[in-house]
């Protein structure tokens, strides 16, 4: 299946966006992100006393001549950060049923994040949780990988209730993991595994995708059904709408607290904003809602 007709405009809108790492990455190939390892690049950082075993070529001989003490020069190392994007393709993302606006928005955010990572020369890959099984694209930094991700996501039809948590350990090799989901499925298990990955040094982003109607349901009396379970029905009246807004807000605040307590970066995005704006809020440090 080819790219979607609007993908060109999407690529153009997210092209300027970069996605700097918010924490020092592990050792790896030379790239644009600060590494935890202090290396031998030209960018001087500090001196350190020579210790037995250090490479004698790194001794600053001029400083030794002046002070009669052996120091070695240290510099910041920069590496690439492999980025994997986990996309939730459950039935709750297929809303509204006729336009799938929520899914297309989530897809756009995923592609935008991939593009932002790829613009930093980072390998970027995809893992989509579908009812037919996970659709995986291994992280690549070659040109065209973002288009590949877009094509794969174009082929995915959100349906059912696939679990995300079992897929998360598959992304252990990635330095940065972005979870694009509405967290209406196995959110607790997902949070638990994401916390473990964060402790293991991974940068975990939780991108909470919501439809505008979920944040502000229409003021009309309707019988609401769950897209993932047609038998689950609740009435939406003016009274229940007020209580719904209270319940939903409380749940979102609790979700944000839980993810941030787990060390992840939680960013709520909604369909009433542009994809580029949502991607920018996820990728820009200190942007509203994107901080820990």
């Amino acid at each position: 299946m080819p790219l979607h007709a609007n993908d060109s405009a999407l690529f153009d809108s997210v092209r300027p966006i970069r996605w700097p790492a918010r924490k020092k990455s592990l050792a790896g190939m030379a790239g644009g992100h600060l590494s935890k390892v202090l290396g031998v690049s030209a960018e001087f950082t500090e001196y350190r006393m020579y210790r037995q075993g250090d490479d004698v070529n790194r001794i600053d001989w001029k400083l030794l001549a002046r002070s009669n003490r052996a120091y070695i020069r240290l510099s910041n190392d920069r590496t690439v950060m492999s980025t994997m994007i986990l996309v939730d393709a459950s039935g709750s993302m297929a809303y509204p049923a006729d336009s799938l606006e929520k899914w297309w928005f989530a897809r756009g955010v995923a592609i935008g994040l991939a593009s932002a990572a790829h613009r930093g020369a980072d390998p970027v890959g995809l893992l989509a949780a579908t009812t037919e099984g996970p659709r995986r694209l291994a992280p690549r930094s070659r040109r065209g990988v973002v288009q590949d991700i877009a094509i794969v996501l174009n082929e995915v039809k959100p349906a059912g209730n696939p679990d995300l948590a079992p897929l998360l350990p598959m992304l252990r090799s990635a330095g940065r993991i972005a979870i694009v989901s509405d967290f209406l499925g196995d959110a607790d298990e997902l949070l638990k595994i994401a916390g473990q990955l964060q402790v293991a040094g991974r940068e975990v982003h939780a991108v909470h995708v919501m439809h505008a109607n979920e944040l502000n349901p229409p003021r009309r009396t309707t019988l609401l059904t769950d897209p993932e379970d047609e038998a689950f029905k609740r009435p939406m009246t003016e009274n229940t709408r007020r209580r719904y807004l209270g319940n939903f807000t409380e749940w979102r605040e609790q979700l944000a607290r839980d993810w941030r307590m787990a060390g992840a970066f939680y960013t709520p995005v909604a369909t009433d904003e542009t994809v580029a704006h949502a991607v920018r809020r996820v990728t820009m440090p200190g942007a509203d809602g994107g901080s820990r």
């Binding site: 809303y95 049923a97 439809h211 009396t221 309707t222 019988l223 609401l224 029905k233 609740r234 009246t237």
Partner: protein, 411 residues
């Protein structure tokens, strides 16, 4: 089938129409939509009301309309086989002693009672008797000598009016016939007022009045004996549980005003030989007159006051004279004048039945059956509703089970 009060049937039809309109207002679940975050909506029952072209719950609607129409039909008083006539006749027959010859009364009555819709016999009181046995009653009454009484004509007219209200659905016009000697003692102040309630002609059949002078003043030459309950003659009295005081006692037209201690209460059954002779000012009997073989006995439950000047007053003298007056009651046995009879007969046209007020309080034999049927059918609605609610409960239980599954999965 005809209805004596068709207005109720029309009202029932209007109410049924309202029920049909209510059934067009359908209370149903609102329009269904999807929302992924529906789990945060509280689970409360919700219904919305909308107007539809086709009525809902057709069987229930049918039951309700049936119940309403049955109740309406019951109050409309249907008659399955109306014996509709052009003219319905109501015959009022004077069986008192005012008529000289009971056989003449019977002969006059016989001509009118055949095919009559109702027959009323009257003397001092009036009562409706079955048409089939009316002549037997007339004959039997004629054999029993009765003292002349008053106020009989008014009572006869009132009873005839009631009968006319009942039979108004069976004819186009009503002919009222009164067989009586029409003596002066049968008229009272209310007679013409009651007569004016009848909108048509009254056919007066005059029979020969009594000419016996003994009828005008019965037992006038006989012995009068007055006994006092306070003196031990308490066969017609019993002691009051609570003695009270009352301010006046009346005998005929004589009123004696004083503070009378009231120690006795009546303990006698009125019959053809016993009548109330004196009354307290609150209407309670204060004395009785009983006809005896040689005259009459007047038993007084009045305790004369022991203090004061009551015994010296002229009204006391009149009171005692009234107590010793001859037995019986004076009656004016002169025939009623022609101008009265002309006014009593009224217009020449018979009363049209639509001018006679219906007797809505009366129930025709079909009424209880219709009401019973309405009651039984209304019970059916409970069973139907119960069956429906059981089905809804099962569905709600299934939904609740599903909800728990979903909530558990979400948790």
């Amino acid at each position: 089938m005809t209805f004596l009060a068709p207005g109720f049937l029309i009202a029932a039809g209007l109410v049924s129409l309202g029920v049909v309109v209510l059934h067009l207002l359908v209370t149903q679940q609102p329009r269904s939509e999807q929302l992924p975050t529906v789990r945060f909506v509280p689970d409360v029952p919700a219904r919305s009301t909308s107007v539809t072209i086709r009525p809902s719950d057709l069987f229930l609607l049918l039951l309700r309309v049936l119940v309403i129409m049955l109740i309406g039909a019951a109050f409309a008083q249907p008659q399955l086989k109306p014996k509709h006539q052009t003219i319905a006749r109501i015959v009022a027959i004077d069986v008192s002693r005012a008529a000289a010859n009971p056989a003449e009364v019977a002969d006059s009555a016989r001509k009118f009672t055949q095919g009559a819709a109702a027959v009323v016999l009257f003397d001092s009181t009036a009562r409706e008797v079955p048409v089939a046995s009316a002549m037997d009653s007339v004959t039997a009454q004629g054999r029993q000598p009765r003292a002349p009484q008053r106020n009989a004509l008014s009572a006869a007219m009132i009873t005839s009016l009631r009968a006319a209200s009942r039979v108004r659905g069976a004819a186009d016009s009503i002919d009222m016939v009164v067989v009586s000697p029409f003596l002066a003692n049968e008229r009272d102040a209310a007679t013409m007022s009651v007569r004016s309630l009848w909108p048509g002609h009254v056919h007066s059949v005059r029979v020969s009045p009594v000419t016996d002078s003994s009828a005008t003043r019965a037992n006038t030459a006989q012995k009068v004996r007055v006994e006092w309950a306070d003196s031990g003659a308490a066969t017609m009295w019993s002691k009051r549980e609570h003695v009270d005081t009352i301010g006046a006692v009346r005998v005929g037209d004589n009123v004696l005003v004083s503070q009378f201690p009231r120690r006795w209460q009546p303990n006698v059954k009125l019959d053809s030989v016993t009548r109330v002779y004196a009354r307290w000012m609150d209407g309670e009997p204060a004395g009785f007159e009983r006809v005896t073989a040689d005259g009459c006995v007047r038993s007084m439950g009045v305790a004369m006051p022991s203090a004061g000047d009551v015994a010296l007053r002229p009204d006391f003298i009149r009171f005692t004279q009234a107590l010793t007056a001859p037995c019986g009651t004076a009656h004016d046995m002169t025939p009623l004048p022609a101008d009265f009879m002309t006014a009593f007969d009224g217009p020449e046209k018979l009363a049209a039945t639509n001018t006679v007020k219906p007797q809505v309080a009366h129930m025709t034999p079909l009424v209880p059956w219709l009401l019973l049927a309405a009651l039984i059918i209304s019970f059916l609605e409970f069973f139907i509703r119960r069956r429906g609610s059981e089905a809804e409960s099962e569905e709600a239980a299934l939904n609740s089970l599903d909800n728990r599954k979903v909530s558990g999965r979400a948790a």
